[in-house]
Symmetry: C2
Subunit: 353 residues, 2 copies
C-alpha cells in the first residue's frame, strides 16, 4: 500500500480548525483509494513564538523537507505585530519559503457556477472564469539585498536574475500548455529595469513554447483588466510583489476568499495552503470556511503525491456540496439551503467524497 508522510503546520487563528477538516477529508479519500497518510505536526508563526520564542523553530524546516508534502493553515495576528520584524510570524513564513526553495506559487481562481453571485462583480463578467496566477515566490523585492531602515531613509531592492525568471517562466508555460495555451506576463517594463529583463526573458523562453500565445501587460493595467474583464485571462505569470497584489485581486473575482487554495512548489517539498489569512477575529467560533484548505489538500494529492483520483473525489465533492446548498457563514447569503459550522462542512465534504 502506498504511504506518504505529510508535514502539518496549523499555525494561528483559524489555522488549526481548518487544517483539522482537511485532514478529515484526506483520511476519507485515502481510505477509499488505498493509500495511507502519516501526519507530523510542526510549529510556525505566532504559536511558535509563544511556545519557543521564534516564528520558525529549528525542527520545522528539516521536518518539512523530510516529508512528501506540507499542508499549512495560516499564521499571524495583532498580538505579534509589534515584535521586531525578524521575530514576527510573517518572517517565519518567508524563511520557510526561502529554505524550501518554493519559487512557484500557484493560485487558481475558478468561479463556481453555484456561487456566481458571491462576487461583487456582476455574474455575467465572471461566469466561467478560470484563471491560474503563477507568482514567483522566493525572489524579487521580498528577498532582495541590500535592504535597510535607519529611521530617516529606508530601502529595498527588487532584483531578478535571468535564471530565476527562466525557472518560474518555464512553470508558467508548462501550465499554459496544459490549459488554454495563453500566457500573460505582467511587469512594469516601461519603468523598471528588472521588469525589462523579466519581459525579455519571457520572450526568449516563448521560442520553446511555440503553441503558447504570450502577451505582456503592465501591472497597473493588469489590475484593471482583472476587474474589467477577468475572462480574458488563462495563465498569468508575474514577480513576487505584483503576484501578491494581483492574486488577491483575482480572488475577488471569485468572490469568497474562503474558497481559494494555493500551492507553493520548487525542487523540494511543496507547501499547500489557503490564500486567506488566520482571521483571528473569528477563530474558535466554529464558523471559518474550511473549503480553501480542503481544496489545497486536493492540490497536494494531485501535484505532490500523484493521487489524481483522490484529488478528483475531493474537488467533485466540494462542487456537489455547494450545488446542494451547503454553506458556511461567510457564504450564507448566496443560495444557502443549510448553513454549517466548520466541522460540519468538513464532515459533509468527507461524506460526499
Amino acid at each position: 500500500m502506498r504511504n506518504y508522510n505529510i508535514s502539518i503546520i496549523k499555525g494561528d487563528g483559524i489555522g488549526p480548525e481548518i487544517v483539522d477538516e482537511a485532514i478529515k477529508v484526506l483520511d476519507t479519500v485515502s481510505g477509499a483509494c488505498d493509500f495511507t497518510l502519516d501526519y507530523k505536526e510542526y510549529l510556525m508563526g505566532g504559536i511558535a513564538i509563544d511556545e519557543t520564542g521564534v516564528p520558525l523553530p529549528p525542527e520545522t524546516v528539516p521536518g518539512v523537507l523530510a516529508s512528501d508534502a506540507c499542508l499549512f493553515g495560516a499564521i499571524g495576528g495583532e498580538k505579534w505585530d509589534n515584535l521586531p520584524r525578524e521575530l514576527r510570524p510573517e518572517s517565519g513564513l518567508l524563511k520557510l519559503r526561502e529554505e524550501l526553495g518554493v519559487y512557484a506559487n500557484l493560485r487558481p481562481a475558478i468561479v463556481y457556477d453555484e456561487l456566481v453571485n458571491a462576487s461583487t462583480l456582476k455574474p455575467e463578467v465572471i461566469q466561467g472564469c478560470d484563471i491560474m496566477v503563477v507568482r514567483e515566490l522566493i525572489g524579487g523585492i521580498y528577498f532582495g539585498q541590500p535592504r535597510a531602515n535607519d529611521g530617516n531613509k529606508a530601502y529595498n531592492t527588487m532584483v531578478y536574475t535571468k535564471d530565476e525568471i527562466i525557472r518560474i517562466g518555464k512553470q508558467a508555460f508548462e501550465f499554459a500548455m496544459k490549459r488554454d495555451k495563453r500566457l500573460c506576463s505582467v511587469d512594469k517594463a516601461n519603468v523598471l529595469e528588472v521588469s525589462q529583463l523579466w519581459r525579455d526573458t519571457m520572450i526568449e523562453l516563448s521560442k520553446d513554447y511555440p503553441e503558447v500565445e504570450l502577451t505582456h501587460m503592465y501591472v497597473d493595467n493588469a489590475a484593471m483588466q482583472l476587474v474589467r474583464n477577468p475572462k480574458q485571462f488563462d495563465v498569468i505569470v508575474t514577480g513576487n510583489i505584483f503576484g501578491d497584489i494581483l492574486s488577491d485581486t483575482a480572488s475577488m473575482v471569485v468572490g469568497s476568499i474562503g474558497l481559494l487554495p494555493s500551492a507553493s512548489s520548487g525542487d523540494k517539498t511543496a507547501v499547500y495552503e489557503p490564500i486567506h489569512g488566520s482571521a483571528p477575529d473569528i477563530a474558535g467560533q466554529g464558523i471559518a470556511n474550511p473549503i480553501a484548505t480542503i481544496e489545497s489538500a486536493a492540490m497536494m494529492l494531485r501535484y505532490s503525491l500523484g493521487e489524481e483520483k483522490a484529488a478528483d473525489m475531493i474537488t467533485n465533492a466540494i462542487k456537489n456540496v455547494l450545488k446542494d446548498g451547503y454553506r458556511t457563514k461567510d457564504l450564507s447569503s448566496f443560495d444557502a439551503k443549510e448553513v454549517l459550522s466548520t466541522t460540519e462542512m468538513g464532515s459533509v465534504i468527507a461524506e460526499y467524497s
Copy 2:
C-alpha cells in the same frame, strides 16, 4: 481682468483631440467668469521624438515652469516601444514629473449616479462611492538608485526618506481634513523596510491631525478591499508603484476610465491630465471621450488658479450632460439618449457650462 498662462501638452494618440475639447470648455467658462487664459503648446512623448528626436525637448520644462498650470493629454504608442528606454515617451513623462517636483498625484474616483451601471461591479457596491487616491509620484522604485540591467541580472531600488513621506503624508491628511476625515495608508510593512518607515512616519504625522482617523492596510488587502467594498475608503495615501496599481483598480470601481481626471502637484507648476492613456487604436476617429480631460481642466481651475466658480460650472455641466443621456461611444450602452462624437461632447459640455 485676471489672466493666466496655461502650458499645453497634447501628446500622442487621442491626446490632441481631447485637449482641444478641454480648451473649448475652458474658454467658455473663463469668458463667463471674467478671466482670460493664454495657452502655449509644448512637445512631449512620441510626437516630440518624431519632431525633435527626444521625448522631452529642452523647451518643455522651462515653458511649463513659467506657466501657472499645465494641461496634458496623454503620451505613448507601440510605434515608440522598442526604442532604448531613455528615448521612450514614458521617459519624457517621468522626467517632466521629476523636474517639476510634482510629488503628489491626486486621483479622485467618484461614481456618478447616472453611470452607476457602467462599472463591472454591482451598483449597490459602488453607488455613492467617492475615493481620493493620493499617490507619491517622484520617489519610490520609479526613481530609486541604484538601478541596472546587464542582461543576466537586473534590479531597482524602492527608497523613501522620511522627509519625502512627511511631504506626501501632509497632503493626504490635509485632503482628509477637507473630506470625511478618514485616511487609509497603504504599504507592505510586513515585508518591506521601506514600508515600515512609511507606516511609522504616517503614525507620527497623525499626531498633528488628531481629527483624522488613520488606518493602515497592506497593499494586497487594499487591492482586494477596493473590489470587495470600495465605499469603506475616503482618502488613500500610498507610494508610487502601489499608487499606480491601486488608482487603476479604483478607476474600475467607477467603471469608465474615460471619466477620471488627475492632478500632479508639488511646490511649482502642477500638471492636470486624464488618467487614461493615449489609446492609439481609436485616435483620429472622433470617438474618444473628452470628459476625463475636461474634468482635469476643472481641477486645474480649482487647485492651481483658485477659480472655484468656473470649476463648479464645469463639474455641474458634466453631471447634467450625463443626466440628460449624452454619451460618447465608450458609454453608449449605459442609459444613452444620444451618442456624441468627441467634439460634439465638448460642445455640449461648453453649452451646459
